[in-house]
Symmetry: C2
Subunit: 448 residues, 2 copies
């Protein structure tokens, strides 16, 4: 059987990886797929660079639409990124009857519903293992490996840039701004790091995982997103003293019961017990923990970015598509793990909850005057709100200013409560004259 023909849209970091790994491991890949997989056409604005990577046997063009129009191309791999031209090209490739592989988490988290509907109508596959956690086969685990389970929650370190920054802040006791500059110098953070450090990238990935885990449509617009830019070194240190690490987690949690039926979809810095495996995932590495009713806790760890790790995921999709290209749609795995016609009903039954409905526990840091009665006032307010306290850490007073006035940090860990309740309690505590600075609030998850 002749090789399946692949066209790459974009041959930068990931595209080069795809091309090189397909070349290097072509024999092993053919032995697995039962058929050769060949990149025969590449579109890139930088035609010279593309020629340098792809060599003389590959047709290089600067117009992505020429790849889509080529009747010999079976699979289009979209590696352009973003919501703009990438969306148009993916939809055009689908309309042309091509199968599509994409690493574009932003596109799928925002426009997935439209894209999967178009693909379903044309009977083509859209595969996206590379869109979440790079080389870790987490999409396959969720879509196929855990199909027996009712998934309860997913919590993942799914952005390498922020995990690198948090690891460095903890290891070296440095502040965010300093470490960000170092990360940019080392290539772990981009020149414009906004999507990473503000949590948007992690939220794209968490959105995709929430859909696959719970059988709901992608709903990025309803995700709660909080990055790491406001995180102080002091909080990392206090968390450590209390036996916790702070990680930027993407969380998708199913809630059911008397209070609320729905899904929490949130990205934010999170205290997690230092003894958990995921708390020990350092540097730019990724890991995803999945809690499901039959299997219990499973964890998946690996490189979440980079040329060849991401290429590993793209090529796994190419192999799957090669195998199923001539099969009926019913033989294929549904795009978002669940049969598409069931998603709307699930969305109604399992809405994405607003932040005020989150149920979690909290780390609070209050800068307070070192006076008698402050702790009693603060804990009295929490008790009045029905929030119970798990632990308190009061630092020795440090002198500031003149006239003998002193301030101190008061750290409180709470048990689980409703976020709306906590917001009200924080507003009340903030109004106390002995609370001298904005209160720091970081969510805490036990992940057990």
């Amino acid at each position: 059987m002749k090789p399946i023909q692949v066209g790459l849209l974009g041959i930068g970091t990931v595209g080069s990886g795809v091309f090189n790994v397909l070349q290097r491991n072509q024999e092993e890949i053919r032995r697995r797929a039962g058929r050769g997989i060949e990149v025969t056409m590449v579109a890139d604005l930088d035609v010279e660079r593309a020629r340098a990577v792809a060599g003389a046997n590959v047709q290089v063009v600067n117009d992505a639409r020429a790849v889509i129009a080529n009747p010999d191309i079976d699979i289009v791999v979209e590696l352009i990124g973003g919501y703009g031209i990438a969306k148009a090209l993916v939809l055009e490739a689908i309309a042309a009857g091509k199968h599509v592989v994409t690493a574009n988490k932003a596109l799928l988290a925002v426009h997935g519903t439209e894209i999967f509907a178009a693909a379903s109508a044309k009977g083509v596959m859209v595969a996206f293992e590379a869109a979440v956690a790079g080389g870790i086969p987490i999409i396959k685990a969720l879509r196929e490996g855990l199909t027996a389970n009712r998934i309860q929650w997913i919590a993942g370190i799914i952005n390498g840039t922020t995990n690198f920054i948090l690891s460095e802040m903890r290891d070296k006791g440095l502040d965010f701004d300093v470490v960000l500059k170092e990360a940019q110098r080392l290539g772990y953070a981009e020149a414009d790091p906004t999507f990473d450090i503000e949590g948007v990238d992690a939220a794209h990935k968490a959105t995709i995982m929430s859909a696959i885990a719970f059988g709901i449509p992608v709903q990025f617009d309803k995700a709660y997103v909080e990055g790491i830019t406001q995180l102080a070194g002091a909080d990392i240190k206090y968390a450590e003293q209390l036996g916790y690490r702070i990680k930027l987690l993407g969380i998708a949690k199913r809630r059911s019961g008397a209070d609320a039926d729905g899904v929490e979809l949130r990205v934010h810095p999170t205290l997690i017990p230092a003894k958990r495996l995921i708390a020990n995932v350092e540097g730019a590495m990724n890991a995803v923990v999945v809690q499901a009713d039959a299997v219990g806790t499973t964890l998946y760890y690996g490189k979440g970015a980079g040329s060849e790790p991401t290429a590993s995921a793209v090529i796994a999709d190419l192999v799957d598509i090669t195998r199923l290209a001539s099969a009926d749609p019913e033989h294929r795995v549904p795009y978002l793990a669940f049969q598409p016609h069931t998603l709307d009903k699930a969305q109604a039954q399992l809405p994405v909850l607003p932040a005020s409905e989150f149920a979690t526990s909290y780390y609070l840091r209050l800068r307070v005057a070192d006076q008698a009665g402050v702790l009693a006032k603060v804990t009295g307010l929490l008790a009045g709100a029905g929030i119970s306290i798990d632990a308190v850490l009061q630092r020795e007073a440090d002198e500031v200013g003149g006239e003998g006035s002193t301030q101190t940090d008061l750290i409180i860990l709470t048990h689980e409560t409703r976020e709306g309740t906590m917001n009200d309690a924080i507003a009340q505590m903030q109004a106390l004259p002995t609370v001298l600075a904005p209160i720091t609030r970081i969510r805490k998850e036990e992940l057990n």
Copy 2:
């Protein structure tokens, strides 16, 4: 479309889990599979117990062959275990044109070649996610998630019983025999624990993974198997002082180069750096680390045994089969990840190596007389054999016997060497009059 019909051979711990999870999550599973999956017939020698689990709507028989003979049954799930009757029944089910799901690692590691050949001839699937690492979808990750890669090595904690015992020995400073009894009392070890503690179970699983990773046939008879029964508490303590943990690992490693082209397939207690994630996998949990050329290191963690974790894997296979039952064989994933007709050639090119060809580093513990010159003699012998030393730990002498004679433990960590070379060096050291007891040798892997 009417539900796919499943017959269970055996409804003990795992079978009950399969039945219960399929019932409890039937709606979610149907939404994923696109079709209902129902257990409609069960064979178990204990018909009463089977009826109690399966209820009145399921046909219960005491003859497994009645399930295989039932033309309405699409998939037979073999949960009997062992090489005997299970093998006959699996082959009969295949001959009857049934798809087969099995959790039987022993059967596949020993008779896999025959079973897969029979299945291939009949055009039926044989799926076995539950055979390795219980609920962790490691077979799927290796067969499908990492298809882009040339896999270099796999190292796994793939036997929960022995990991529980080793964790307890380390935590509580207890000896093997004491902990084994505790494990049996708690249900973590069977009344006859031989297959677990002697490493046979782990070797079955490592054998299956070696085939899927490297595209070779299952060759359990060539596996090197060493259990944990000889492991002393002292070695766990010394390892800890040197920054290592001791775990029973199943290892499959590709070797290529001037010295040897082949596969190391081995199960034995192993020192691994305490800072590795897998070194912190405690109790009965399982984890598998995979090193591959494109993706780098990935790790998969979860429950390796138990009713519902194992059922999770069995049902994932049922969903895959449900989806592909009416597809052509070419649309399915090859049994051992690689096209069957390519395995024999690979076996010739990549033979399983004898133990003397292993390349690894070592932990050695020598009980020596506390005399001047002993360390020089021992290190001189190692140098003469071309084995270089990484670290030495000499304990203070402890008094034994009368007349002021003293003994001490000498611990040596070596760099990588050939096992045959190490065997010779150990024989020479053992012959020294100042070496007072059999030398302890434990292999060491950095896993980086």
